[in-house]
Amino acid sequence: MNQEQVREITYAQAVAEAIDEEMARDENVVLIGEDVGIIGGNFKATVGLRDKYGDWRVKDTPISESGIIGLGVGMAITGMRPVVEIMFSDFIALGMDQIANQAAKIRYMSGGQVKVPLTIRAAMGGGRSSAAQHSQSLHAWVAHVPGLKVALPSTAAELKGLLKTAIRDDNPVVFMEHKVEYNKKFPVPEGEYTIPFGKANVVREGDRLTIVATSNMVLKSLEAADKLGKEGIHVEVIDLRTLVPLDKQTMIGSVKKTGRLLIVDEGHLSFGAGAEIGMGIMEDVFYDLDFPMMRLGTEDCPIPFSPALEFPIIPDAKKIYEKAKMMAKR
């Protein structure tokens, strides 16, 4: 990456930029969702798009999650490429029939007659004292349903490339944006680029332990890895980028090298993505392991409001550091 090509924009601006470029490129791309238009979204991730593309392409909808996801399904199967914003990922619960039973199934049940180029963007994650109904990380819900793809971008640069890929994908994609990232600035290359799905990113190389992380946990894992690096413990950090498709090969290669795997994902621990990631590669790496695979995730309790309660239950750099250090002991 050429130095002068890199500038800094926020994660939210990266959303708007990705959608803007895709809308300019293809008039079938439209954006619909609650408050996405005049105010540019609850998280200001779509600012400027309505002014540029007009009310019919950037549509402020009623508060009807099931209705608007279904609207997106209908548009997608009749030749459009809609992007539906669900303000908080918790609200996919209200649209779950349209996601899991309609969007995910109609291609299959039609015997391949239709395709569903639909992107559902939703804001996930805790850390803002938003309490139990506005803080969840529910990507495992959707990753469980065949027919859907699931992406979790970690930085603005990742987000931009992955969102453009999501919009161009001819399948329904649930795109989980982490809400604590929206206002953070990241270096993002100028110009158009895409990042393919199913290709994990080795963000930091190391030999003592592999950390596989998703979304915001990638950043927290890097923080922990930096600290461990100063102590001479070199940790490899992998940003999974997409849960579906899942890049097992990159993880397997890394764990064969390091012999140790820590999975860090913000979903609840029980029946979560961490368990699936570990079990998904177990048979390939079992005899290479020097230590049991371990997981960090949000504790199995609803996400509490008070910061005094919330932060202790969500993984952070300190917890990752401690766990990784313990695992890396020889």
Binding site: S66, G70, M80, Y108, V114, K115
Partner: protein
């Protein structure tokens, strides 16, 4: 069927000779084709040849027939779990439908849909649906596409009266109305959602009044009168096509059989009620009308009926002869892999 005997109760037809005989005969042929298809599906079920279940459209044929006759080829429909009638009225191939119902490779959806979820894109059929109310926002989205691209296509969304108690109904009507989308909601009010009569769970018995709450013109009509359905839907479709926004048409009708092929319907409705509606059989009434008012010759009608009986028998043979899909096909069409 004696025309004379029934001449006093033509409750199922409009009056007057406003239409060409061919047009009327085509309507009758469609209704008869649906009836025959459904009767044969029931037979296949009784013989144990049909996997799963099917929801019979018998008694409601005039709704699908009248509504689809009002559409152009490029228009869309979205159907329900009780979808065979909508599909046939839209011109779907009964061979491919029957093969799908039997879970065969040559079915519309290669055996992945069965009775309840058939999609036939070449006929503008965006899908039947196993989820009550599931198709309503999808139809509304197709209408958004048509409005956005100014394609002048109209979408008809079929739904049962019980589906109007789902949130998707209200969410969809609200959006369609706010944005003047070209969609016509055709509600088939057959009074029952499985075993539950509408008056046990809903105060208002005319679903059309619900449309008014969304600023949509809602009308209640006799859903067993195929010409009435045709005329009402035609007007609504024309107005939607011109950009005047959505409409809701409630068709009062009745399903003669149980909720699905395995339901005897003995516990929740009376034999008197069934008899009342059978007197108003849309098929019989329209047949009488053809002979008495439209000057059709009964021999010609019998010939038409026989030809359709043969067609459905051929569909059954085709479906029976079609192989089952290979087990590996279960993994096909989950994702679109191409570019």
């Amino acid at each position: 069927m004696s025309a004379q005997k029934r001449s006093s109760k033509k409750k199922g037809t409009s009056d007057g000779n406003r239409y060409e005989e061919d047009f009327l005969k085509n309507l009758y042929a469609t209704m008869y084709r649906i009836r025959q298809f459904e009767e044969q599906v029931f037979e296949l079920y009784k013989l144990g040849l049909m996997p799963g279940l099917a929801h019979s459209y018998i008694g409601e044929e005039a709704v699908a027939t009248g509504a689809c006759a009002a559409l152009q080829d490029r228009d869309y429909i979205v159907s329900t779990h009780r979808g065979h009638g909508h599909l046939i009225a839209r011109g779907a191939d009964t061979k491919k439908m029957m093969a799908e119902v039997l879970g065969k490779k040559d079915g519309y959806c290669k055996g992945k849909a069965g009775s309840m979820h058939i999609v036939a894109l070449d006929k503008g059929i965006l899908g039947a649906n196993g989820i009550v109310g599931g198709g309503i926002p999808i139809a509304t989205g197709a209408a958004y596409m048509a409005k956005y691209k100014d394609t002048k296509q109209v979408t008809v969304s079929f739904l049962g009266e019980s589906a109007t108690n789902e949130g998707t109904f209200h969410e969809s009507l609200n959006m369609a109305s706010a944005w003047d989308l070209p969609v016509v909601y055709v509600v088939e009010n057959n009074r029952y959602g499985i075993s539950v009569a509408l008056d046990r769970v809903t105060k208002m018995q005319d679903i059309a009044v619900r449309a008014q709450a969304y600023g949509i013109g809602g009308v209640t009509i006799d859903g067993n009168d195929v010409l009435k359905v045709y005329e009402t839907v035609k007007e609504a479709v024309a107005s939607a096509r011109e950009g005047q926004g959505p409409a809701l048409i409630e068709c009062k009708t009745y399903r003669f059989k149980g909720h699905h092929v395995g339901d005897p319907a003995t516990q929740y409705r009376t034999r008197e009620e069934e008899a009342f509606w059978k007197e108003r059989c849309p098929l019989v009434c329209f047949r009488d009308y053809l002979i008495e008012k439209a000057g059709s010759d009964e021999k010609g009608i019998v010939a038409l009926e026989n030809a359709i009986n043969d067609e459905i028998q051929e569909a059954i043979v085709f479906a029976k002869n079609s192989p089952y899909p290979d087990a590996v096909e279960a993994f096909e069409d989950i994702y679109f892999e191409g570019r």
